[in-house]
């Protein structure tokens, strides 16, 4: 039952994260054609603020579930074994190369979400303050929007790689539900 619960949580968390990133790319980006620029800005601002917390929440829960798994089913997290790095590891165990790749993917995603949520996204909605050059500010805003586009695609790519690694056949580690 513990394995089922943890596997369920792991799948839901990954699915919510990856699905959110796919939604932004496949639904929200093309949708912007139908919205006037000023309203696109207002929507981006509101959605970005909410999405940041959904994404960070999912990544936090993924980490908590992984820690929970290592405590509840310690034998499957053989990170100290020789097979942990480079080799395929024991058949189906989350320990081994899968856990290393997933950890790297998780760290990259957390960095990207924090970078986008705390720096790039707010910069793309910056307002002119008294005495500030508005031309320079709009140039900076455009730069931030372009950077945001690139980072969102990188985030989606990394998340898809993470999902592929999580989907690797297993018998005892967290991975996708059937």
């Amino acid at each position: 039952m513990t394995r089922t619960t943890l596997g369920f949580l792991f799948t839901v968390e990954w699915a919510t994260y990856v699905g959110g990133a796919l939604f932004m790319e496949l639904i929200w980006r093309p949708l912007q054609r139908y919205v006037p620029p000023a309203q696109t800005g207002a929507l981006c601002n509101a959605m970005g603020r909410r999405y940041r917390w959904v994404a960070l929440g999912c990544l936090g829960l993924i980490a908590a579930t992984a820690v929970g798994w290592s405590l509840a089913v310690p034998s499957t997290l053989g990170s100290g074994s020789a097979a942990a790095v480079g080799g395929p590891g024991p058949p189906g165990a989350i320990g081994g190369w899968r856990s290393v790749v997933l950890l790297v993917v998780w760290l990259v995603l957390v960095t990207l979400v924090i970078l986008m949520g705390m720096l790039v996204h707010p910069a793309s909605h910056a307002r002119v303050s008294p005495g500030q050059d508005s031309t320079e500010l709009s140039r900076r805003r455009l730069r931030s929007i372009r950077l945001m586009d690139v980072l969102l695609r990188v985030e989606l790519g990394v998340a898809l790689v993470g999902a592929l690694v999580a989907a690797w056949p297993h018998t005892s580690g967290p991975g996708p539900a059937m």
């Binding site: 796919l22 639904i27 929507l43 959605m47 059937m178």
Partner: protein
């Protein structure tokens, strides 16, 4: 080696279908939905319509992918022996699998209702046509509001069902079923 890659592909496609369905619904309901407050109502309606049109394509793709990738996964894992000789309704594995299929069918029925019954009602024009009076317009607005309530209700029901399906799936992936 080939079998491993089929398992990886099936498993990946299955996870992607779950991600599109579950993650997309969460983003639609809890990210885009509340953000629509920040634009004028007419614009919010256009936005809601266009986003729902696009999202429904993804939803149907995911619903189609579930059985295809699920069957591929089922056969690549050589689990057939668990449901043959009456095992489908006498073992925990078989019952769990049957429940997943039944819930998938419910999701399809709800998808049909949303796509072909309630969405067309929402997309209809409100303006009076051919001398229709204020009463007819008010009736149409009421029908649209009812349709919107039903779409929202069914979307949340679908989200809850999808979570149960994932739980059932997890019980098959990490054990022998939950029922």
């Amino acid at each position: 080696m080939t079998a491993t890659w089929i398992k990886v592909l099936a498993s990946y496609l299955h996870l992607l279908a779950v991600a599109v369905y579950l993650g997309g619904s969460v983003a639609m309901e809890f990210v885009l939905g509340p953000a629509q407050r920040f634009v004028p109502p007419a614009q919010a309606q256009v936005l809601g319509q266009k986003s729902a049109d696009r999202f429904l394509v993804l939803v149907w793709a995911a619903l189609a992918l579930f059985p295809v990738s699920g069957m591929l996964l089922f056969f690549s894992l050589s689990d057939q022996h668990l449901v043959t000789h009456g095992g489908m309704f006498s073992t925990s594995y078989g019952l769990t699998l049957a429940a997943m299929m039944a819930l998938w069918a419910v999701l399809v029925v709800n998808g049909v209702l949303i796509t072909f019954v309630f969405r067309p009602r929402l997309a209809s024009k409100v303006a009076a046509r051919g001398g229709a009076g204020a009463g007819a317009v008010a009736g149409r607005i009421e029908a649209m509001q009812k349709a919107a309530t039903w779409v929202s209700r069914l979307t949340r029901i679908d989200l809850a069902i999808a979570l149960v399906v994932v739980l059932l799936g997890a019980s098959l992936a990490y054990g022998n079923g939950i029922l």
